[in-house]
C-alpha cells in the first residue's frame, strides 16, 4: 500500500564489500591508528630485540623468543585495542546511530570490521616477520608449524575481535576507551609472557593470566617459533595446544555473548 516497489535493496554481500572498503580506508589513512597499531609492535621488537640479550638455551636468543610475544601483542592491538577504541569513537560521534537509521544491513557493519582486523593483523604479522628475519635473523616456522601459526592466529584474533567489540560499549568515547583498554592490554601482555619468558612470571600471576586469552595466544605462538625442547619451560611442561584451542574457543563464545548483550548503536536512551 505504501511502499512503492522499487528496485531491490542491495544484497548483504554487496554492502559488506562497501563497508570493508570504508573500514580499510578509515584505518590505513589515519596516521595515529597506523602508528599505534602497526608500528608499535615493530618498535617494540626493534627496541627490546636490540637491548635485551640473553640466551634461553637450545640456541634460542631473545629475539627468537620475543617473536611469539610481539606477534601476540600485534594481534591484540589489531583486534581488541583497535576495535574497542574505534567503535567507542563511532558510537560517541553518532556514526553508529546514522548507520542504524540507514538501510545498511547490520551484518555488513561487522563484516567490515572483521575485514579491517584481518587486513591489519596480516600486515602486522608480515612486517614483524620481515623485520625479525632481516634484522635479527630469526628462524621462520617450518612445515606443520605454519598450520599451527594460522589457526592460533585466527582463533586468537577472533576472540579478541569479539572482546574488542564488547569492550567498546563500556567506554564513553574513543579517548576513554584508549585510556582503559591500552593499560589493560599491556598488563595482560606482561603477565602472559609476551615481553619476558613466561616462567619468570610469578606463579600466582601465571594463574591469573591463564584465565585470559592473551596467555594462550602467546603460548600457542611460542610453540610455533621455539624448538620443542623449550616446551619443558611451559607451566605444564608441554605446549598444550589442545587447551589453547579450547580456551580461545570458549573466549570466542563468551565474547560473542557479551557483544550480543552489550552492543548499542547509540548512546543510551533517556535524555
Amino acid at each position: 500500500m505504501t511502499t512503492a516497489q522499487r528496485t531491490a535493496l542491495p544484497s548483504v554481500a554487496r554492502v559488506s564489500r562497501t563497508r570493508a572498503g570504508v573500514e580499510l580506508k578509515e584505518f590505513f589513512r589515519q596516521r595515529e591508528s597506523v602508528v599505534f597499531t602497526l608500528a608499535f609492535p615493530v618498535i617494540l621488537l626493534l627496541g627490546l630485540g636490540a637491548v635485551l640479550d640473553y640466551d634461553l638455551g637450545s640456541g634460542v636468543d631473545f629475539p627468537q623468543y620475543f617473536m611469539a610475544g610481539v606477534i601476540a601483542a600485534g594481534i591484540v592491538g589489531a583486534s581488541l585495542q583497535n576495535l574497542a577504541i574505534h567503535i567507542a569513537g563511532e558510537r560517541a560521534d553518532g556514526t553508529l546511530k546514522a548507520l542504524a537509521g540507514s538501510p545498511m544491513p547490520k551484518t555488513a557493519y561487522f563484516v567490515g570490521k572483521v575485514a579491517q582486523v584481518v587486513a591489519v593483523t596480516l600486515a602486522t604479522v608480515v612486517v614483524l616477520l620481515i623485520v625479525g628475519v632481516l634484522v635479527f635473523g630469526i628462524d621462520l616456522p617450518s612445515g606443520g608449524d605454519w598450520l599451527t601459526f594460522a589457526w592460533v592466529t585466527v582463533l586468537g584474533a577472533a576472540a579478541c575481535t569479539l572482546l574488542g567489540i564488547a569492550v567498546s560499549s563500556l567506554a564513553r568515547n574513543a579517548r576513554s576507551a584508549s585510556a582503559t583498554v591500552t593499560p589493560l592490554a599491556l598488563v595482560l601482555e606482561f603477565v602472559s609472557g609476551v615481553f619476558m619468558p613466561f616462567d619468570q612470571v610469578p606463579g600466582w600471576l601465571q594463574d591469573v593470566a591463564a584465565v585470559f586469552p592473551v596467555k594462550w595466544l602467546a603460548q600457542g605462538l611460542r610453540s610455533v617459533f621455539l624448538p620443542d625442547s623449550l616446551a619443558a619451560r611451559e607451566p605444564a611442561g608441554s605446549w598444550e595446544l589442545g587447551t589453547v584451542a579450547v580456551v580461545l574457543g570458549v573466549w570466542c563464545v563468551a565474547g560473542l555473548l557479551l557483544c550480543v548483550a552489550t552492543f548499542r548503536w547509540q548512546e543510551g536512551e533517556g535524555r
Binding site: M1, T2, T3, R6, T7, A8, L9, P10, R14, V15, T18, R19, G21, V22, K25, E26, R29, Q30, G89, E90, D93, G94, T95, K97, A98, A100, G101, S102, P103, M104, P105, Q266, E269, G270
Partner: protein, 302 residues
C-alpha cells in the same frame, strides 16, 4: 484535538482512539506516550503530517520534540499509542522502510578519514535507488569540496554534508533536526533554498527548529509542542490567531512616528492614503510575530 492523558501499561488494550490513524499521511500519531522514569516526555500526542508538506515542530527544550522525532525514526521505543510512518510502525520498520527515510543527524563525518564524495558514495550504496552522489553534492553546494575530508569542512559545510547524506537515498520523508544551528545568516538562506528545492522534488519533511523565522520561512504548517502535547497546529501565519489579531499600522507624520492598532488595517491604510498626496511616509503594517504568539502559547500551558 482531544487529549488522551490516560496512563496505560505497555501492551494493555488500547483505548478507543479519538480518530483512526490516517493511512494516507506520511506520519500519523495517536495517543503517543513516552516516559522517562516518572516523567512523561510525550503525553498523549496526536499528529498527522501530510505527504509532500514541510511540517515544523516547535517547542522549548524538554517539550518532547526530539523524543517524538526519534520514535518516528525508529530510534526510540514508545510506552503507548500508535505511530505509522509511511504506513509502517517504526518499532517494526525493516530495511525497506528505512530506505524510504532520510535522517539528517549531527553526523560523525568530522572524524572520518573518507572524502566527502566517498562518504556519500558509501551511504548511497545502502539504498535501492540512490541519487547520484555528484548530483547531490551539486544540490547542496559542496562540489568543490568533494575531495576534502570531513574535518576540513566549515561548520556550515559539514551541516550541508549531513543533509547530503540524508537525501542521497532519495527519501520520501526527510527528518531534519535543528538543521541550521550554528549557521551564519547567509548559510541559513542558502540552506533554506536547498530545502525548498527538495520540497519541489516532492520530499515530505519533518523539521524541528528553535528558530521561529526558519519555521515561518519554510513550513507549510507548524505544530507547537508543550509539555509533551501538541498545543496547536496551524499554517505559520495563522498560528495563535495571528491572522485575525489586531494589526499595528505605523507611519511618520509631521516628523514623528505614529502608530495605531486596528482590526481593519486595509480600510485604515486606505484612509491614511487619502491624507497624504503621494506615498504614506515609512508605512508599515505588522501582525504579532510568530515569536510573540509562540512565547504566549508555551507560557500559557499548565
Amino acid at each position: 484535538m482531544t487529549r488522551s492523558t490516560a496512563t496505560r501499561a505497555p501492551g494493555a488494550q488500547p483505548e478507543q482512539l479519538t480518530t483512526p490513524l490516517d493511512p494516507d499521511a506520511a506520519i500519523s500519531i495517536r495517543g503517543l506516550v513516552k516516559r522517562y522514569g516518572e516523567r512523561a516526555a510525550v503525553d498523549g500526542l496526536d499528529l498527522d503530517i501530510r505527504r509532500g508538506e514541510i511540517f515544523a515542530l516547535l517547542g522549548p527544550n524538554g517539550a518532547g520534540k526530539t523524543t517524538t522525532v526519534e520514535i518516528c525514526e525508529g530510534y526510540r521505543s514508545r510506552d503507548g499509542g500508535e505511530v505509522r510512518v509511511l504506513g509502517v510502525d517504526p518499532a517494526k520498520g525493516g530495511r525497506r522502510w528505512k530506505a524510504e527515510l532520510g535522517i539528517v543527524l549531527q553526523s560523525g563525518a568530522g572524524g572520518s578519514q573518507l572524502s566527502v564524495r566517498e562518504l556519500l558514495a558509501a551511504q548511497a550504496s545502502y539504498f535501492a535507488d540512490p541519487r547520484d552522489p555528484d548530483e547531490v553534492l551539486e544540490l547542496v553546494g559542496l562540489t568543490e569540496k568533494a575531495g576534502a575530508r570531513g574535518r576540513a569542512l566549515s561548520g556550515g559545510q559539514r551541516r550541508r554534508l549531513d543533509v547530503a547524506l540524508g537525501i542521497v537515498g532519495r527519501p520520501r520523508l526527510l527528518f531534519l533536526d535543528e538543521p541550521t544551528t550554528g549557521f551564519d545568516p547567509e548559510a541559513r538562506r542558502q540552506f533554506w533554498a536547498l530545502i525548498r528545492s527538495l520540497r519541489d522534488l516532492g520530499t515530505t519533511m519533518l523539521l524541528t527548529t528553535h528558530y521561529l523565522d526558519e519555521a515561518e520561512e519554510l513550513a507549510d504548517r507548524v505544530g507547537v509542542l508543550a509539555h509533551g502535547q501538541l498545543a496547536e497546529v496551524a499554517v505559520p501565519t495563522a498560528l495563535g490567531g495571528r491572522g485575525t489579531a489586531p494589526a499595528v499600522v505605523s507611519w511618520t507624520e509631521d516628523g514623528t512616528r505614529r502608530s495605531a492598532e486596528t482590526t481593519t488595517p486595509t480600510a485604515f491604510v486606505a484612509g491614511l492614503a487619502g491624507r497624504f498626496p503621494g506615498e504614506v511616509p515609512d508605512l508599515a503594517v505588522s501582525r504579532p510575530s510568530l515569536e510573540d504568539v509562540y512565547l504566549k502559547m508555551i507560557g500559557d500551558r499548565p
